[in-house]
Symmetry: C2
Subunit: 177 residues, 2 copies
């Protein structure tokens, strides 16, 4: 709270005039963030019906928000489970809806392509891929969200075996010793 006070220029007591507690402030930030991501996603999904493209839209939507707000999301990730009781369960509800949507996208894909896989593991693997970027993403080296979304989308859908991005591939100079 003292850091926030310094950063905003408002006194510590002033902050408490607007937010009744640190916990409630965190709640409002989390709710706003996850609601926004969810709203953007729903709006984009309305326009596309092909199952593969819908999965790619999910990934792109997620990565764009994460890349654009990566410093904030690093903090949110760190405070992920710190909300308790009603506040915490309201956030959990929003996340659950997000999870369900992703699960639905994968199961639609599964049905159309007539393939079989553990959908829970698949959703969680995908979440891992796209959430983890808060630990490593650097705009300089990793390109924009669109490029990343294409790479990750292809890895997730077809694996590294068949990855072949139309010319845009940058092979890194690193070689293991």
């Amino acid at each position: 709270m003292r850091d926030l006070s310094r950063a905003t220029g408002m006194s510590l007591a002033g902050l408490y005039y607007y937010f009744e507690s640190k916990e409630r402030l965190l709640f409002l930030i989390q709710k706003h963030t996850f609601t926004t991501i969810l709203k953007n996603l729903k709006s984009r999904l309305e326009m596309v019906s092909d199952p593969e493209r819908r999965i790619r839209i999910f990934i792109l939507n997620h990565l764009q928000y994460f890349v654009a707000n990566r410093h904030g999301l690093k903090v949110l990730a760190h405070e992920d489970e710190s909300l308790k009781n009603e506040l915490g369960s309201e956030i959990a509800d929003i996340k659950r809806e997000y999870y369900r949507i992703c699960l639905g996208l994968l199961e639609d894909f599964q049905r159309v392509r007539k393939i079989d896989f553990n959908s829970r593991t698949a959703v969680m693997s995908l979440f891992g891929m796209i959430n983890w970027i808060y630990t490593w993403y650097s705009p300089r080296v990793d390109g924009d969200a669109l490029a990343l979304a294409e790479e990750m989308g292809t890895i997730f859908l077809h694996g590294i075996v068949s990855v072949n991005l139309k010319g845009r591939v940058r092979t890194k100079r690193l070689r293991h010793s």
Copy 2:
């Protein structure tokens, strides 16, 4: 430190007889953890030369340690970047070696299969998949590390499209509303 004192039954001051500071204790825990994972990995890789199987061994080794020590690793993930200066950079060195090994495995695979992809993105995506389990893994619903490693290995190598685990697949009953 007071929590540790309560959990171990040793007094707060007693802990400081063995560990000079909280930061140094965290350092020792991190160093022991990452060194162990790295040592196990190297030992297992010595026995296998096929690039695909080596990647699968990497995944299995990582998941087995994470599943066996998931409560501890949740804490480690939370304190991931809290070590500063020399202590922090010594840990960073170990992690970098781990990263390089994984990168090498992927590039060997790439060379043998004559395929092309952004290896940094691939490594980070894989790390995301296998590190993220500390947020969701439950032994009851998700099976053991071996089953998970096979699922994730296949997703990473071939994508969800061609996932087809020999009979062991459990399709979940969830359907999105």
